[in-house]
């Protein structure tokens, strides 16, 4: 649903604030974290395992900015040891579909892109 101000927004204009949001998506971990949370709530350590290769630092940092942006809800349960659960907010859930589409695109077009890359390299080198 577009509110009044949304109609004025144009990402092709330099000053447009939506560019800061495109940046959000640009952070290369966001796509994977949203995907990992698509199946439901997860704890910090679970995410660390699901998103293979992410460091603690980047997971914390990315989750913080996602929380700040209202994409993710963080719930702390005061047990010992502490339990922290992350889940997608309503807004976050609306991101899963577009991001899954990108994920699918990456998988489907990987071999074509790889072929194009090596062909390009040899064309330059040769």
């Amino acid at each position: 649903m577009l509110d009044a101000s949304a109609r004025e927004l144009d990402p092709y204009q330099a000053g447009c604030p939506t560019r800061r949001i495109l940046d959000l998506i640009g952070g290369r971990w966001t796509v994977l974290i949203v995907g990992a949370l698509g199946e439901g709530t997860a704890r910090f350590s679970e995410l660390l395992r699901r998103v293979d290769g992410i460091s603690q630092k980047m997971l914390t940092q990315t989750l913080r900015s996602m929380e700040r942006d209202g994409l993710v809800i963080r719930t702390v349960t005061a047990e010992v040891p502490v339990k922290v659960e992350y889940t997608l907010s309503e807004a976050g859930r609306t991101l899963t579909e577009p991001l899954r589409a990108l994920e699918r695109w990456s998988i489907e077009h990987f071999s074509g892109v790889a072929a194009s890359r090596s062909e390009y390299e040899s064309r330059i080198a040769g």
Copy 2:
């Protein structure tokens, strides 16, 4: 269409080569350039105007990597002065829909994200 190798690809695995492709999308200009080329062929200088705020350097650089990855076709016409046209390849066109979805998402959810951010800031500060 998934070929045999595609079935093995899982972006949630650290070594997965599709992560390099997600990076491609991460470059924050790619989204806007694909969008700008969605309406058809454009010359270098046209793109420079359409994608407001991009520098010559970044436009060149991003177009090169998109060409290398087979998303964009570059056509040089030997006139004086030179004419260089860019157009989306078949693969590039398949990206327009998913990326437009993200663009729409940014526009539609901007105000919500902005609100969440300021609310978060004041919660921290307070």
